[in-house]
C-alpha cells in the first residue's frame, strides 16, 4: 500500500510538473487543475460514499465567495483561505446532518441539494445594492465581487501567486488532496464508508453510525469543493453568482461520470479532458459547446456507464499482472464490482 501510494505520488508529481511544458497555456492549465480538484470532491462522496450530490457547485461557490469576502475584510489572504475552507465544510456538515439524520436518499437527496444550490444562486443574484454587505465587502448581486486581494507568498506579502506559481500551488493542492483521500479510503473510516455504500443496512446492524459517517464524508467533500472554489477565486480574480448555477453543477457531474465515479483518478481525468474540450470548443462557432457536452453525457451513460478510467483499468492491470507472471483474478473482479455499485 505504502509503495503503491509513493508510486502514484511520484507519477502524479511528474505529470503535474511536466504538464506546463507540453501544454503552454498555463492560464487554462491552472483552471483545469482547479476543476480536477472540484471533480475529485464529488468523485469521493459519489463514488465511495454513494451520495449523489446535485449541488456540489454550492460548496464551490461558497468557498469562492468566502475567500473573496474574507479577503476584503481581513488583511491577510491566508486567513481568508482558511475561512474559505471552514465555511463550506461547516455548511456541508449542517446540510449533510439534515439530510442523513432525516434518512433522505437518492432522488430526494438530489432534489434537496439541487434546491439548496438554487436558493444560493437566487439569493446571490438578488444582492445588488449597498444594503447587502458583509463587513466591507459588497455582495454585488449579478455582477459579483471583483477586486479582492489574492493569495501571496506566505513569506513575502508583496509577491502574488499568479501564472506559474499559482499553477504549481494548485497542482500541489490537487496532489495532496488525491493522496489524502487515498489514505483516508484505506483507513478504517474509508472502509466503513465503502461498506455503507455497499450495504447500508448491514453496516448499521454491525454497529456503525451510518448517519455520522455519511455526514463526515459529505463535509470532507464540501471542504474540498470549497478549496477548489477558493483557488478558482484566486484564478479568476472575481466571484459571480454563476458559480452556483445549475450548469456548473451539471458540469461537475459530467466530469465525474465521464471519467468514472468508481475511482479517484477518474474524476480528475474527466475534468481535465472535458475542461480542455470546453476551452477548445469555445474557440469555434460551428458547434455549440453545450450540445457536445450534453451528447457526451448521454453517450457515456448509455455505453460507458462506468466511465473512462474504470473501463480502461482492467486492461492495464491485466498487462501488469501478466508481465509479473503472478496475480489472482479476485482483485479485478472486486474492482469491477465496486465500480458497478458506484452507480
Amino acid at each position: 500500500m505504502l509503495r503503491e501510494t509513493a508510486f502514484s505520488a511520484a507519477i502524479g508529481l511528474a505529470i503535474l510538473v511536466v504538464a506546463p511544458l507540453l501544454f503552454d497555456d498555463i492560464y487554462t492549465l491552472t483552471v483545469l487543475t482547479i476543476y480536477g480538484l472540484l471533480a475529485l470532491s464529488l468523485g469521493f462522496i459519489w463514488g465511495f460514499g454513494g451520495i449523489l450530490c446535485f449541488g456540489q457547485a454550492a460548496f464551490f461557490g461558497l468557498g469562492a465567495y468566502g475567500f473573496a469576502i474574507a479577503s476584503i475584510n481581513f488583511a491577510d489572504p491566508w486567513i481568508a483561505a482558511l475561512v474559505s475552507l471552514i465555511i463550506p465544510a461547516l455548511f456541508a456538515a449542517v446540510l449533510g446532518a439534515m439530510l442523513f439524520y432525516g434518512r433522505l436518499s437518492d432522488v430526494y437527496l438530489a432534489v434537496v441539494t439541487l434546491v439548496v444550490t438554487l436558493i444560493l444562486f437566487k439569493f446571490m443574484n438578488s444582492t445588488a445594492g449597498n444594503a447587502y454587505k458583509i463587513g466591507d465587502a459588497r455582495l454585488g448581486g449579478f455582477n459579483g465581487i471583483p477586486g479582492f486581494d489574492t493569495l501571496t507568498l506566505p513569506w513575502d506579502s508583496s509577491e502574488y501567486l499568479i501564472n506559474e506559481s499559482l499553477y504549481y500551488f494548485c497542482a500541489l493542492i490537487l496532489l495532496l488532496a488525491f493522496l489524502g483521500l487515498r489514505w483516508l479510503l484505506s483507513a478504517p473510516f474509508g472502509r466503513i464508508l465503502v461498506g455503507i455504500r455497499e450495504n447500508e443496512l448491514r453496516a448499521e446492524l454491525v454497529g456503525y453510525d451510518v448517519r455520522l459517517v455519511k455526514t463526515l464524508a459529505f463535509a470532507i467533500g464540501g471542504m474540498l469543493a470549497g478549496m477548489s472554489g477558493m483557488l478558482f477565486a484566486n484564478w479568476a480574480e472575481i466571484v459571480t453568482p454563476a458559480l452556483f448555477s445549475l450548469s456548473q453543477s451539471a458540469e461537475i457531474i459530467i466530469w465525474v461520470i465521464v471519467g468514472g465515479a468508481g475511482s479517484l483518478l477518474g474524476p480528475i481525468v474527466g475534468a481535465f479532458v472535458l475542461g480542455a474540450l470546453k476551452f477548445f470548443l469555445g474557440q469555434q462557432t460551428l458547434v455549440n459547446n453545450l450540445f457536445v457536452l450534453g451528447s457526451i453525457l448521454v453517450v457515456t451513460v448509455l455505453f460507458l456507464p462506468r466511465g473512462i478510467v474504470p473501463t480502461l483499468t482492467p486492461f492495464f492491470k491485466r498487462h501488469r499482472r501478466r508481465s509479473r507472471a503472478a496475480g489472482n483474478g479476485k482483485r479485478g473482479r472486486g474492482s469491477r464490482r465496486r465500480a458497478r455499485h458506484a452507480r
Partner: protein
C-alpha cells in the same frame, strides 16, 4: 375587496402554472419512476413549436393547443425509443442521461434559433376588476390547468388504457402475463408526458417569451413539485402545487418575487425533511 380578489386570482394562477409545468413530469415519474430532467427543454420545444407555427400562419389557439404538444410528443417518442427505454429501473442513470439530453437540446436550440428571445402576443386582452387591471390570459391558463388535471384523472381512472397503464406500472410481469406489451405501455406513457410538457410550453409561450435556455426556469420548480408531491400523479401534484403556489405568491405579495421564489425552495426543503417520500408517501396513499 377588489384587492383580495386579485390576490386570490394571482394565487390560483401561480398554482395553475405549477400544475401545468409539472403535469408531464408527474405522469412520467409517477407512472414509470423515471425523472426526465430534459422536461424543461420539452417545454421550450413546445414553446418554439407554438411560436413557429403561429408565425407560419396557423391560428394561435391551434398553435398552442395542437402544434406544441404534437411536436413535443414526436420528440418524446424519439427520445424514449433511442435513450430512455434502455435505462428503465435505473433512476439515477435516467436522470443523468436526460440531463445530458437537456444540455444538448439547449445547445441545439441555440444553433437553430440563435441565442435570442422570441415570443408571440397574448391572444386575450386584460380586463378591469374594480380598480385593478387583470390579465385575461391568466384565466385561460387556470382553465387549461384544470382541464389537464381533470383529463389525466379521467383517462387514468375511467378508460381501459388508463387501467392497463396503471396495472403495467404496478406489476409489469402480471400485465405481461395477461398479454399486454409493457414496453408499448411505457412508450405511450412517456409520449403522453412529453405531450403534456409541450402543451405547457405552448401555453406559457405568450407569457414569458422563449429562448434556448428558457427551460431551466421551469425544470427546477417542476422537479421540486413532482418529488414533493410523491408518486401519486394527480393528488400529489395537486397537493404540492397548491402548497408551493400559495407559499410563493404569499411571499411575493408580502415582499418581492425573489423572496417568493426562495420561500418556495425553502418550503420544499422543509417538506422533504419532514416527509422524506413526498406528500403522497405519507397521506393520500391509495389515490391516483
Amino acid at each position: 375587496m377588489d384587492y383580495s380578489a386579485v390576490v386570490v386570482m394571482e394565487i390560483c394562477y401561480a398554482i395553475a402554472v405549477l400544475i401545468l409545468i409539472s403535469a408531464g413530469l408527474a405522469v412520467i415519474f409517477g407512472m414509470m419512476r423515471v425523472i426526465n430532467l430534459a422536461h424543461g427543454e420539452f417545454l421550450t420545444l413546445g414553446g418554439y413549436a407554438a411560436i413557429m407555427s403561429n408565425q407560419a400562419g396557423l391560428n394561435i389557439y391551434l398553435s398552442i393547443l395542437v402544434a406544441a404538444p404534437l411536436a413535443a410528443a414526436i420528440f418524446g417518442f424519439l427520445v424514449e425509443r433511442l435513450i430512455v427505454r434502455f435505462l428503465y429501473g435505473r433512476l439515477i442513470n435516467t436522470m443523468l442521461a436526460t440531463w445530458g439530453l437537456s444540455l444538448a437540446m439547449i445547445g441545439g436550440f441555440s444553433m437553430i434559433f440563435g441565442n435570442t428571445t422570441t415570443g408571440i402576443a397574448t391572444p386575450i386582452s386584460g380586463f378591469a376588476l374594480g380598480n385593478y387591471q387583470v390579465s385575461g390570459y391568466n384565466l385561460f391558463v387556470i382553465a387549461i390547468a384544470v382541464l389537464v388535471i381533470g383529463g389525466v384523472y379521467l383517462i387514468l381512472k375511467t378508460t381501459r388504457a388508463g387501467l392497463v397503464a396503471r396495472g403495467a406500472m404496478q406489476n409489469p410481469e402480471m400485465a405481461q402475463a395477461f398479454g399486454y406489451n409493457t414496453s408499448r405501455v411505457y412508450m405511450f406513457t412517456f409520449v403522453a408526458g412529453s405531450a403534456l410538457a409541450g402543451l405547457a410550453g405552448g401555453v406559457m409561450a405568450p407569457l414569458v417569451g422563449i429562448n434556448p435556455a428558457a427551460g431551466a426556469a421551469y425544470i427546477a420548480k417542476a422537479f421540486i413539485t413532482v418529488i414533493s408531491g410523491g408518486t401519486a400523479v394527480i393528488s400529489g401534484t395537486l397537493a404540492s402545487a397548491g402548497l408551493f403556489g400559495f407559499v410563493s405568491q404569499t411571499f411575493t405579495f408580502l415582499a418581492t418575487p425573489v423572496v417568493g421564489e426562495i420561500a418556495l425552495l425553502v418550503a420544499a426543503v422543509i417538506l422533504l425533511r419532514l416527509l422524506p417520500t413526498g406528500i403522497t408517501g405519507r397521506f393520500l396513499k391509495d389515490k391516483v
